[in-house]
């Protein structure tokens, strides 16, 4: 067995990348119905090295290399899920979800509903999401808002290695289909390893930092961004609470509203484009149900409405950054 980390202690530090393989391996050990499929995920360990060790430990009967056939990958995962397996399918870059969008938009999320509950589709589609690495417009998108537009999918996007493991456990055990976004910009990031048996229920946000002046709601890569901004603002005497949503569906509205009771100001930081971004849903729910909690308008920092450009200077211009978050919080507190 190669690099899958086993039984790491509490104090251990690991990377987000290794946590992906660790999270999958833990579930494969406890449930033989869990099988993986995707391009280059076997002996090669995945293009992002997020499946390293799985092939060595579980073999070709549980870890299947596929042709470049995104429709077949997700469609076959669906058929297997409907008939007793718990497949974990990898779509290499989240941009490529567009190649199998029929399955995400029309097939997987609707099968249970339109059969009147006859069919259950317990699968996970894992995919590397997001920008910041200069991969250009077709390998850098944050597309969690695509999935958000479809009732019937659960959506997970962890920000720390321990959360990757804990949320992977719940995603794979879920009887509902889950789209699991791993952020490319976080793969090398480090954090505490997950304790044994770690499982985080889907739909339970994390207060990543407590504060009293502004609530910043973030997801995946925008969580460390918000935390860094909070640290900077702390120096200026501004106290920022950071809510890591962890999941978009189920959406933890209660934690957001409870945080607003303490802070009365809301900033949402999302990497997907402002047009149709998930922050708009959060803002709309808060406007509906928490208007009286607010002392200022809800603000959003989001990706700009352009395809992601290649050059660092251009890419940073259009995706959320620490500076943009800091500026937005400052505007909010002075409202």
């Amino acid at each position: 067995m190669a690099n899958v980390r086993t039984g790491a202690g509490d104090s251990d530090v690991t990377t987000y990348r290794d946590a992906v393989a660790e999270g999958i391996a833990r579930e494969m050990r406890r449930d033989e119905r869990v099988v993986c499929l995707g391009e280059d995920i076997g002996a090669a360990g995945g293009v992002f090295k997020t499946t390293v060790g799985l092939f060595d430990e579980f073999g070709p009967e549980r870890v299947w290399d596929t042709p470049i056939s995104e429709q077949a990958i997700v469609g076959a995962a669906m058929g297997a899920a409907m008939t007793g397996m718990r497949p974990v399918a990898e779509i290499m870059f989240s941009d490529f979800l567009a190649c199998c969008w029929d399955y995400l938009a029309n097939e997987i999320p609707k099968a249970r509903y339109m059969t009147g509950g006859q069919v259950t589709v317990p699968l996970v589609v894992r995919t590397a999401n997001g920008g910041g690495l200069g991969f250009g417009a077709q390998h850098s998108q944050s597309v969690e808002n695509w999935a958000l537009a479809v009732p019937g999918l659960k959506i997970v996007a962890p920000s720390t290695p321990a959360d990757v493991v804990g949320l992977m456990a719940s995603a794979i055990r879920s009887d509902d289909p889950v789209v699991f976004f791993e952020h490319k910009g976080l793969f090398a990031s480090k954090g505490a390893a997950a304790p044994p048996e770690h499982a985080i229920p889907l739909g339970k946000a994390n207060i990543a930092r407590t504060g009293t002046d502004v609530t910043v709601v973030a997801l995946a890569a925008t969580v460390p961004m918000a935390l860094e901004a909070a640290e900077r603002l702390h120096g200026d005497g501004i106290s920022v609470e950071v809510v890591d949503l962890r999941c978009l569906i189920p959406l933890d509205v209660s934690t957001v509203l409870a945080s607003l009771e303490r802070t009365s100001r809301l900033l949402v930081v999302e990497e997907n484009p402002y047009q149709g971004g998930w922050g708009a849903t959060v803002a709309s729910v808060v406007a509906d149900e928490g208007f009286e909690l607010l002392d200022a308008p809800v603000r959003r920092v989001a990706g700009d409405n352009v395809p992601l450009p290649f050059a660092d200077a251009l890419e940073q211009q259009v995706i959320p950054t620490v500076d943009k978050v800091v500026a937005a919080v400052r505007r909010l507190v002075s409202y």
Partner: protein, 333 residues
């Protein structure tokens, strides 16, 4: 057409198939009538004319094998054990419909009989059938999966992806094309570079492609039975292309005027019910036996229509059930 001679099937079995085809035909006619009377909304894609494919193929399957069909799937649902009443109730938006009126004509499903659904996106279910076969292989269950699809589906990407995956993974799956010569309103040969759109592409994906008379229930049964045997033995997938014809237009609103009259007449003369009838007569069955079977079928359909019509309407509360595995639809806390 299949080159090998059809193996003999005993007359009693064939009579059973004939009766089942008559039930399906009767149900399709009933659906059509109910539509004209405003009792079925939306649309229907009738499979009258295709019965031999559904019945012949189903007869070659085990009860626990998986079937995936298209929006033109009434015949597969019934051949797999959905009742005419459950199907008609679904079309008539009744609470007792097979999908509790949340599926409709295009999505008939009877999962407890291995009828894993009807899918309205052309070609989408071919990879799913490959996946169900993959699951059967992983579990060592000996089950096979069948995807039924139209000639038009052979030009969509998912068809090619599914065939290659099934072949390279040696999956126990059958791809059964119902080649009725038309997509919606366009003749398949005008948009396809090979004469047999499914079978001709089998070799390119490393599997046998068989062309069979899709209006002869015995020929379909035999071709499918051979492919099933191959699949169960671990030798991998097969494409079966059944040549058939739809009696109605593509969907409810289509009078099918684009089809040459002689072509329609030629195929109507080869109606799968007539083909089965003459086969049975040739094997010693009497007209009286055949009429009795047809009458039983008609009575079953009449009772089904009555029961479906008398069933309670769909419950609006059901709009909020079955999104998630917990039964509900809550997307937030």
């Amino acid at each position: 057409m299949s080159t090998e001679a059809a193996a003999p099937v005993d007359a009693a079995t064939l009579l059973g198939w004939y009766e089942q085809m008559a039930v399906i035909r009767g149900t399709e006619k009933a659906a059509h009538d109910l539509f004209l009377r405003g009792l079925v909304k939306g649309t229907t894609h009738l499979a009258a004319g295709h019965e031999a494919v559904a019945v012949g193929a189903s007869a070659a399957l085990r009860p626990d094998d998986y079937v995936f069909a298209t929006y033109r799937g009434h015949h597969h649902a019934i051949a797999r054990g959905a009742t005419p009443e459950g199907c008609l109730a679904e079309l008539m938006q009744r609470h007792t419909g097979v999908c509790r009126a949340k599926g409709g004509s295009m999505h008939l499903t009877q999962a407890d009989h291995g009828m894993m659904g009807s899918y309205a996106i052309v070609g989408a279910h071919l990879p799913m059938a490959a996946g169900a076969a993959w699951s059967a292989k992983l579990r060592g269950s000996g089950q096979v999966a069948v995807a039924f699809f139209g000639d038009g589906a052979t030009n969509i990407g998912a068809f090619h992806e599914a065939l290659n995956l099934a072949a390279v993974w040696k999956l126990p799956v059958l791809f059964v094309c119902e080649n009725n010569r038309y997509m919606e309103y366009t003749a398949i040969h005008t948009v396809t570079a090979v004469p047999n759109p499914a079978a001709d592409r089998a070799a390119a994906n490393g599997m046998p492609g068989v062309v069979v008379d899709g209006n002869d229930v015995v020929a379909v049964h035999d071709a499918v039975a051979r492919a099933v045997e191959r699949a169960r033995s671990g030798a991998g997938p097969t494409v079966v292309e059944a040549l058939t014809y739809r009696h109605f237009g593509h969907s409810r609103t289509d009078p099918a005027t684009y089809r040459p009259v002689e072509e329609v007449e030629e195929w109507m003369a080869r109606d799968p019910l007539l083909v089965a009838r003459s086969r049975l007569l040739g094997e010693g069955a009497t007209e009286a036996q055949l009429d009795a079977a047809a009458e039983r079928a008609a009575a079953e359909v009449t009772a089904a229509v009555r029961a479906a019509q008398a069933a309670p309407p769909a419950d609006p509360a059901d709009a909020y059930t079955d999104v998630w595995a917990d039964g509900g639809a809550a997307w937030r806390t």
